[in-house]
Amino acid sequence: MFIINFFTILLGKIISGLLHLFGRNAGNLPGLVLWTLNKNCLKAFKIDCPIIAVTGTNGKTSVTNFIAEMFKKTGAKIITNPEGNNLDTGITSLLLNHCSMTGKVKADYLILETDESHVPVVYSKLKLETLVVLNFFRDQLDRNGEVETLILKVNKFCETFEGNLILNGDDPNVARLGLANPNNPNVKYFSVEKYKYATDTLHEAGEGRFCPRCGTALRYDYYQYSHIGRFACPKCGYGKVSPFVKFTDIDLEKPSFTVDGEEYVTANATIYYMYNLCAVFAAAKLYGIDKKIVRKTFRSFKVNNGRMEQFEYKGSKLMLNLAKNPVGANMTVRMVNECEEEKELLFVLNDNLADGYDVSWIWDINFSTFRNVSRVVTSGRRAYDIAVRIKCSGYDAAKIVVRPDLDDAVKELFSTTGRKFAVANYTAVQPTRAAIKRFIGGEGSSNGNA
C-alpha cells in the first residue's frame, strides 16, 4: 500500500510539475490522471487537519472564500480552492500541489468547495469534519439530472456521517439531510428571519414542495426567495427546527443584520447574500472565530470574480452577477428591482457544455416584475433566446438590443450613462468580466492620453 501511495504522489507531482513548467494550469489534469489510474488515490494523502466542505447549488464559491478569509485572518494556514475546481479531480490536484513527497498535507484547515454530486466520492476517502450545505435548486437538468437524484446522493452520505452538519434550515431540500442520521448529534441549522420583500406565495420556480418524510404538501408562513422560507409539514411537523444561528432585522439599506444580539454591517445587500453570510457565520461560531474578525470580514471582504462584482465607468456603476440557473437569475432580477432608480440590464447567455446545452431554464426566470428597467442588452451564444424570453414576459421589444459579440454588447451598455446590472451564466461570466475590463481599461487609458 505504501509503495502504491508513494508512486501515486510521485506521478502526480511529476505531471503537475511538467504542467507548471510549460506554463499550463494544473487545476484538473493531474487529478484526472490519478483518478484514472487509481480510484483510491485520495487515500495516498496524509491529512491531519480538519476539513470543512461547502456544497449546495448556489453560493459555494462565495461561502468557501468567506470562510477561508476568516480563518486566514486568525493566522491559520489554509488550503482552499477559491476558484472552484470542486470535483474529485480538482480537489486531488489541489492536494497534490500542497503535499510533501510522502503525501503529507501541511495546513491548519482544508476549506473545500465541493460539487454536490462529488461529496460522497471525495469524503468517503478523506475524513470530513464539517459539511456546510447551502441549498438545492434545479440546475442544469440536462447535465445533473433531477434535483431529487442529487439530494438522495448527499443524503446517503449523511446517513453515516457523524461530523458537523451545518444546514440551511429554511430550505426543505437541505433541512431533510438532518434526518438522515438520527444518531448524529452534530446537526446544526441556520435560518434568516423574514425580510422586507418576502412573499406569501411562491414567486419564482421552486423545488421540494412536498414533505420528504411523509409526502404531504408543505405549508409556508412566507417565502424569502424561490422555495427558501419558513416552511413546515402540517402533518408530521417536519421543518420545525431550532436554529444554531439565526439572522434577524435584515436591513437592505444599511445593509446589516443582527445575530446573537449584535448588529453586523455587510458589503452587499440581497437576501441571497444574507443566507450565504448566515452559513459563514454558523461555521465561524462553530469554530469559535473571534467576532472582531467576523465583523471585519463581513464589512469589507468581497469575493468579486463575477459574484456581485462592482465596476464603474465615467460615474456609471455596474454590478455583475453570475447566474447559472433560474434561482440565481431570479435573485439578480430581484436585486435589479430592489434598486429604485432607473437602470439597464445586460444578460449574457451561453450554452456551452459547462452551462448545459439546454437554455429552457430562462423561462423559469420571472421577468414580469421588471421595475424601472429602461433598456436590456443581450449577448452570448444564445443572445436571441434570452431576448425572446424577456420580450414575451411583456417587456417592450423596442427596448431590447441584441449584440451576440460581448465587446459590442459592453460598448452598447455603456453608450448611455446611469445604473447598470449584468447577468452572465457559467461560461459567460469570465468572458463578460474580461470584456468589461477591456472596455473600461481601453477607454480609461485613451481618456488618459487625451
Binding site: 437538468l141 433531477e146 431529487e148 437554455v359 431554464w361 423561462w363 436571441y384 425572446v388
Partner: protein, 252 residues
Amino acid sequence: METLRILHMYPNMLDLYGDSGNMELLAYRLKMRGYSSVKDDYTLGDGAKTDFSSYDLIYLGGGADFEQQLLAEDLLSCRDKIASAHKSGVFMLMICGGYQLMGQYYKDSNDKKIPGLGLFDYYTVASTNKRERCIGNIVIETDFCGEKYKVIGFENHGGMTDNVRTPFGRVLFGNGNKFGSESEGYTEKNVIATYLHGPLLAKNPKLADKILTYCLSRKAGREVTLPPLDDTLEKKCREVMLKRLLEEKKKK
C-alpha cells in the same frame, strides 16, 4: 373578442424547466392581438369539480418520474371526462411526461409501470439505466401548420415511445420518439404531444399561432385569422439555431 379558456394540469408537478413558458407564450400572443385568456390551474383532487370539455385548450407539461407516479391515479380518475373533451375537439397540448401519460402506459426507469389514460395507442418504456437518455437540441419538420415548418426545441427523456401512428414531425436533428428515431411526437388535428422542451412554442411562433387559430375558430364557429406579429427576434433566433444545428449535422 373571445376569451380563450385554458386548463393547465398539475402546474406544480409537471413543470420541468420552462414548460410553463408555453402558457406564457400563448397568453402573450393572444394579448398582443387584443384577445384575452383565462388560465385555470388543475391540481391533485380537482377532478370531480372540473368540466374539461368547457375549456378550449388543455395543457400538460413534463415532470420527473416521482411526480408522474404521484399524479397517475388522479389523472386516471379523470379519464372519461378528458376523453370526451378530446373527442369534442378541445385542443390538447402535451409535453414529455404529459405526452407519455396520455398513451397506453409508461414504464419508468425503476421498471415501475404507470398506466396511461389510453387516449392514444402509443406506449412508452424507459431504460432502467438512468443514464440512457435522449438529451440535446432537436429540429423536426412538421406538416401541422398546413405547410412544412421546422420546429426547434430541446429533448431530454429516458422514455422511448413506440406504436405512434401519426407522428408530430420528422426528425432533422436529434433523436425524437426513440434513440435515432425518424419521427417525433404524436399529432391529430386537435392534439400535439411532443418531447420538445425549450419551451416548445418559444422558437416556433407559427406553431403557437396555428394552435391559437384552431382554438379561436372552433370557439367562434368560423374561420378566424390572426393578424401577424412582429417576430423579428424569434426569426433571428430560429435562423441562428437552424444554421448551427443543421450545419453541425452535415459535418458529422
